[in-house]
C-alpha cells in the first residue's frame, strides 16, 4: 500500500509530467474561474472538499487544485453503448456551483454523443481522430453495457455500422485508463438481468485491460468527477475493492453511514410506507432497504448538490451499485432476509450479527473487511 508521502510524490511527479504537454486551452483555469466570479479561496475550498471525498489527507488539496488546472492535458473520450443516458445526465448535474462543470469543460472532451455539436460522418471522424491522436493517453469513459449475443449485432454505431463490441475493443486498446460509468458498463445492468436476451456484459468482460467500475444507477456526479480527478492526479487507478470499484467511494456500506442507522439500532422500523414510522424517519429495512448489502457513499454525498437520496425520500436503497442487483435484490420493497450475496462466507453472518431486543433482524451484516481485494497497483 502506498504511504501517503510516497503517493504525494507520485502525484507531484505525475503532474510535472503532465505539465510537459502543451496546454490545450487558451485560458488557464484560474482565468476561467475569475470570469465566473469564483475566488481562489472558493477554489481551494472545493479542492479540500474533493480531497476529503477521496479520503486523502488535507495537504493533498494542493495537488487536487493543481490537477484541476492541468485537467485540459487529459483527453476524455466518452462512449455510449446499451444505455439510457442516465449516467450522462448525472454528469451534467455536477454540483458545487459551476465548478465541477467548469472542470469538465476544462478536461478536453473529445467525444461525447449527447453533448457534442458534430453528428454523423463528422462525429465519427472526431472519434477516429481522437483515438489516433491521443493514443495511449486518453481516458476512456463508457456508459452502457456491451451486447455480445449474435456477434454484437444488437447495437451498431456510426456510418460504418460497427458493432458496439468492435468499437469498445478498438477504443480500449489505446486508452490510458478505462472507466465504466454506471452499473450497465460495470456489470451489464438492466439489460443483463435475467434472461439477458442480448448477452449484455460489463466492459471489463470484453476488454483485456483493468477497468474501474463506478457502480450506481446512475452513480452520483461526485463519484464520476472524483474518479476523473484521481486519474489526472496520480496517472493510475485508485485502490479498488473486489468489484474494481474505487474504495474511496464504495468502501462503506450504505447501511453504515445511513442517517437512519440509529433507528435501526433502536429497533424502530417503518412497517408500511406512509405510516407513523415513515413520518418519523424510522429505518426502512422492513420495507426492503438493501443498504446493508450495498457499498456506496450515497448517505454522505447524496445526489443533486446534496439535495436528497432515496432513503431521505422514504424509499429503501435498492442496491443499484452492486453486480446483478436486478436479480439478487429483486422484490425491492421486501427485506432480503438471510440470503447471502456474492457467495460470501456464512461466518460473515455471525461475525457482525446484531441481535436486537425488539426485533430480531436477519441481516447478514457482512462486517468483514476481507471483502476488499488488494489494490491493483502496489
Amino acid at each position: 500500500m502506498d504511504t501517503h508521502a510516497a503517493l504525494y510524490e507520485q502525484g507531484k511527479a505525475r503532474l510535472d509530467a503532465l505539465r510537459q504537454f502543451a496546454p490545450r486551452q487558451q485560458q488557464t483555469l484560474t482565468e476561467k474561474l475569475q470570469q465566473h466570479g469564483i475566488t481562489r479561496r472558493d477554489f481551494m475550498k472545493w479542492s479540500a472538499m474533493v480531497t476529503g471525498m477521496l479520503a486523502l489527507p488535507l495537504p493533498f488539496s494542493n495537488l487536487v487544485a493543481e490537477a484541476a488546472e492541468l485537467a485540459d492535458r487529459v483527453p476524455l473520450i466518452w462512449l455510449h453503448m446499451a444505455e439510457c443516458t442516465g449516467c450522462s445526465e448525472s454528469l451534467v448535474r455536477a454540483d458545487t456551483p459551476n465548478l465541477d462543470s467548469l472542470i469538465f469543460d476544462h478536461i478536453s472532451l473529445e467525444y461525447h454523443e449527447t453533448l457534442m455539436a458534430a453528428a454523423g460522418w463528422q462525429a465519427e471522424e472526431n472519434l477516429e481522430h481522437a483515438l489516433e491522436t491521443y493514443k495511449g493517453r486518453y481516458l476512456l469513459a463508457v456508459e452502457g453495457a456491451i451486447p455480445t449475443a449474435n456477434n454484437g449485432s444488437f447495437l451498431t454505431v456510426g456510418c460504418k455500422g460497427h458493432t458496439g463490441l468492435e468499437i469498445i475493443k478498438h477504443a480500449a486498446e489505446g486508452a490510458a485508463a478505462i472507466i465504466s460509468v454506471g452499473t450497465c458498463a460495470s456489470f451489464g445492468g438492466v439489460q443483463a438481468a435475467y434472461p439477458n436476451p442480448t448477452g449484455a456484459k460489463g466492459v471489463h468482460e470484453v476488454v483485456s485491460k483493468p477497468v474501474i467500475n463506478l457502480g450506481g444507477c446512475p452513480p452520483s456526479e461526485k463519484n464520476i468527477v472524483g474518479t476523473l480527478m484521481y486519474f489526472i492526479m496520480f496517472g493510475k487507478l485508485p485502490a479498488l475493492d473486489m468489484f474494481n470499484r474505487p474504495k474511496w467511494a464504495y468502501g462503506a456500506r450504505v447501511h453504515d453511514n445511513c442517517e437512519r442507522r440509529g433507528r435501526f439500532d433502536a429497533g424502530e422500523f417503518v412497517e408500511e410506507f406512509g405510516d407513523h414510522g415513515a413520518k418519523e424517519g424510522y429505518c426502512l429495512y422492513k420495507v426492503g432497504c438493501k443498504g446493508p448489502y450495498t457499498y456506496n457513499n450515497c448517505p454522505t454525498e447524496r445526489f443533486n448538490h446534496h439535495t436528497s437520496w432515496p432513503v431521505l425520500a422514504g424509499h429503501g436503497c435498492m442496491g443499484c451499485s452492486e453486480p446483478n442487483f436486478w436479480d439478487d435484490m429483486a422484490d425491492f420493497e421486501k427485506p432480503l432476509g438471510r440470503q447471502l450475496l456474492h457467495g460470501l462466507d456464512a461466518t460473515a453472518d455471525t461475525v457482525g450479527a446484531v441481535i436486537l431486543s425488539a426485533t430480531v433482524v436477519g441481516i447478514g451484516a457482512h462486517a468483514v473487511a476481507s471483502i476488499f481485494a488488494k489494490p491493483l497497483e502496489e
Binding site: R24, Q26, Q27, H80, A82, E83, C84, T85, G86, E89, S90, V92, R93, D95, S108, E113, T114, L115, M116, A117, A118, A119, G120, W121, E124, E125, N126, P147, F154, T156, V157, G158, C159, G161, G164, V190, Q191, A193, P195, N196, P197, C217, F273, G274, A278, K279, N304, H305, T307, S308, W309, P310, A313, G314, H315, M318, W326, A330, D331, F332
Partner: protein
C-alpha cells in the same frame, strides 16, 4: 442521379439513431429512412417478476425522461389492481412531472437542439454591446445577456476556437447557410446555452426534493409516494417553490425570448417551414390540477383537421413490423403481438461518403416498430399535445398559443412546421410551469387535514389482472400495459412516443413522422446535412424509449377497453 446520405450517430439525442436520405440532383430529399440501432429487450426481462418492481425497472428504459416510465409503469400496476391512490400522492406525482418538464425541455432546447439553431463560430464576431441591445427586443428583462456577460462568454468560447481545439464544438456545420441568427443573436443564445447548464441543475434538484435523486428518482411505489417527510416539511416545500421560481424565471425571460427571436430570424428559412408532413396528431390528458381536472386534453386529430378532434380509441392501435428487425406475418394489435428478433443487417452501397453499409429500405432496417392508428401514422409530442388542447378549446392553451402567434406575427399554419414544433415545446413548458404552482398550493391546502400518501396494494395470486396507464411524457403520449398472473408479470408492453414518431415504413408503404418530415427538404450541402439534424432534433428523439418488445399472446382485446378519459 440520386445520392445516398448516411447520418449515424445522430448526436445530441438519447440513444442510437441512424438516418439515411436519398437526394436528387438538386439536393432535394426524395426518400428517407429512420433506424434505431440498439435493442435491449427490457420487456422480456420483466416477465415473471413481481409487479411491485415494475416502476423501478421500466424507469431504466430512459434516463432523460427518467420519471415518465417510472410513473406510467407504477400507475399501470395500480390500474390493474384497482388501487385509487391518495390525493396527496396524485399532487406529488404531478409536481414531480412538472419538475421533469421544466428540466427536460430546457435541456432539450439548449443542449440538444440549440446548436442546430445557433452558430457558435458566428457568435465570436458579435459586438457584445450591440447584442445587449438586441436582447431587449425579445424581453424587457433579459437574462445572461448584459454587455459584460456576453463579452465574457465570447472570450471564453474564443479560447476554444483559437487553439483550434473545439472540444465538444469540433467539426460541426458552423457557417452553414441555413443558420439565420445574426452574430449578436447567436451570442445571446450561446450565453443562454451556458446559463441553461446552471439552471437545469436547479430544475433537476426540484425533482430530487420529492424523488430522492434525478436521474432515476426512487420515491414512487405501487399505492402512492414514499416522500412523506419531504411533503410535511415546510422548509422542504419552500425549497421546491424557490427553485421553481428560479427555473420559471429562466423559462420566461430566456427560453421564451429565444423562441420569439428564432421565429423572427428563421421565419423565412425554408428548411424549418416544413417538417410536419404526417398531419395526424394524438395526445392524452395529463397534469392533475387542484379540482381533479386535467391541464391538457386527450384526443386524435386526423388530416390536420382541428375542427374534427375525436377521443382516442386504443383498440385502433396496431403495430407493423414489416420493416423492423422482428419476424411477424401481419400487423399485430399490441396485445397479441409476438417478438422474435430477426436482424438482417446492412446493405453495401455508394454514398456521398464513399462505399458504406446502408439501410435496406426494401427489407428490414430498424429496431423500432411502426405503430399505426386506424392504419395511419400519427405524430405525438408537445406539438400534438397543444394542438389537441387547442382544438378542444382548452382556454389556457388557446390563450397561450394565440398570444405567441400575435407576438411573432405568424399565422396558425406556422404551428405545422419544424419551427412550430420547437415553439410548442417552449409553450408547453411555460404552461406547465405556471399551472404547477396551482397544484403546489392545492397540496399545501390538502396536507392541513390529510397526511395520507399511500394505500397498501394487495395481489391475489389466484386471480389474473389486466391494466394500463396513459400519460403525456415530455416527448408525447406514453402508455404502459400489463397483465398479471400467479402474482407475477405475465406480459408487459410500453407504447412509447418516439416509437410513434421514428418507426420505419409500414407494409402499405405509409411512412412515419420522422421519415415524412424530411421529404422535399433541400440540403445546402449533402455531406453536411444540418437541415436533417435540425428537423429530427425538433422531435426530441429518445431511442432507448422507442425500442421495446411486444409480447402479448392471445389477448382478447375487450379486456383492454379504455374509457375515453384515460382513467
Amino acid at each position: 442521379m440520386s445520392k445516398r446520405v448516411v447520418i449515424d450517430p445522430i448526436t445530441r439525442i438519447e440513444g442510437h439513431l441512424r438516418i439515411e436520405v436519398e437526394v436528387d440532383e438538386n439536393n432535394v430529399i426524395n426518400k428517407a429512412w429512420s433506424s434505431s440501432t440498439l435493442w435491449r429487450g427490457i420487456e422480456v426481462i420483466l416477465k415473471g417478476r413481481t409487479p411491485m418492481d415494475v416502476g423501478l425497472i421500466v424507469q431504466r428504459i430512459c434516463g432523460v425522461c427518467t420519471y415518465s416510465h417510472y410513473r406510467c409503469g407504477t400507475e399501470a400496476v395500480e390500474n390493474a389492481l384497482g388501487i385509487q391512490i391518495p390525493l396527496n400522492a396524485k399532487y406529488l406525482r404531478s409536481l414531480m412531472q412538472t419538475s421533469l418538464y421544466m428540466h427536460d425541455h430546457i435541456v432539450h432546447f439548449y443542449h440538444l437542439h440549440g446548436l442546430d439553431w445557433v452558430d457558435v463560430v458566428s457568435a465570436l464576431s458579435a459586438d457584445p454591446a450591440k447584442a445587449a441591445q438586441v436582447a431587449l427586443k425579445y424581453t424587457d428583462k433579459p437574462i445572461a445577456a448584459g454587455e459584460g456577460e456576453l463579452r465574457a462568454v465570447q472570450e471564453r468560447v474564443k479560447g476554444f476556437v483559437e487553439t483550434g481545439k473545439l472540444g465538444p464544438f469540433a467539426n460541426a456545420y458552423w457557417g452553414n447557410g441555413t443558420y439565420k441568427f445574426t452574430p449578436e443573436q447567436n451570442l445571446i443564445a450561446l450565453s443562454h446555452y451556458l446559463k441553461a447548464l446552471e439552471v437545469q441543475r436547479v430544475a433537476a434538484e426540484m425533482l430530487a426534493i420529492f424523488g430522492g435523486k434525478q436521474p432515476h428518482p426512487q420515491s414512487l411505489v405501487v399505492g402512492g409516494v414514499t416522500s412523506v417527510r419531504d411533503m410535511l416539511s415546510p422548509a422542504r416545500l419552500q425549497e421546491w417553490k424557490q427553485k421553481h421560481a428560479i427555473v420559471a424565471d429562466f423559462i420566461l425571460r430566456a427560453y421564451q425570448a429565444d423562441i420569439v427571436m428564432a421565429a423572427e430570424a428563421f421565419g423565412g428559412e425554408a428548411s424549418v417551414l416544413g417538417g410536419v408532413n404526417v398531419k395526424n396528431f394524438m395526445a392524452t390528458n395529463d397534469f392533475v390540477l387542484a379540482n381533479g381536472e386535467y391541464l391538457f386534453d386527450q384526443g386524435v386529430i386526423m388530416k390536420g383537421d382541428l375542427a374534427g378532434v375525436s377521443d382516442i380509441n386504443p383498440e385502433l392501435i396496431a403495430e407493423d413490423v414489416s420493416h423492423a428487425w422482428y419476424s411477424a406475418d401481419a400487423p399485430q394489435h399490441p396485445y397479441d403481438g409476438t417478438t422474435i428478433p430477426n436482424y438482417t443487417g446492412f446493405v453495401e452501397r455508394d454514398t456521398v461518403y464513399g462505399k458504406l453499409p446502408t439501410l435496406d429500405g426494401d427489407g428490414k432496417y430498424s429496431w423500432v416498430k411502426s405503430p399505426r392508428y386506424q392504419g395511419e401514422p400519427v405524430e405525438v409530442g408537445p406539438l400534438s399535445c397543444l394542438l389537441v388542447s387547442y382544438a378542444r378549446g382548452n382556454k389556457v392553451v388557446v390563450d397561450a398559443v394565440n398570444a405567441l402567434l400575435a407576438r411573432t406575427g405568424l399565422p396558425v399554419e406556422a404551428l405545422f412546421t419544424t419551427l412550430g414544433r420547437t415553439a410548442a415545446r417552449m409553450l408547453q413548458t411555460v404552461i406547465v410551469a405556471q399551472e404547477g404552482l396551482k397544484t403546489f398550493d392545492a397540496l399545501l391546502t390538502n396536507i392541513q387535514s390529510d397526511e395520507t400518501t399511500y394505500v397498501k396494494p394487495h395481489i391475489d395470486p389466484s386471480r389474473e389482472y389486466v391494466g394500463h396507464a396513459m400519460i403525456e411524457a415530455p416527448r408525447g403520449m406514453l402508455s404502459h400495459w400489463i397483465r398479471i398472473k400467479n402474482g407475477v408479470i405475465e406480459n408487459y408492453q410500453a407504447v412509447v412516443p418516439t416509437t410513434w414518431n421514428a418507426g420505419p415504413v409500414d407494409a402499405n408503404g405509409k411512412i412515419g413522422p420522422y421519415e415524412a418530415s424530411l421529404i422535399g427538404l433541400k440540403l445546402e450541402d449533402p455531406t453536411k446535412p444540418l437541415e436533417v439534424i435540425r428537423i429530427i432534433h425538433s422531435f426530441d428523439p429518445c431511442m432507448a424509449c422507442s425500442v421495446h418488445v411486444m409480447d402479448f399472446k392471445g389477448q382478447a382485446l375487450s379486456e383492454f377497453r379504455v374509457s375515453p378519459n384515460g382513467q
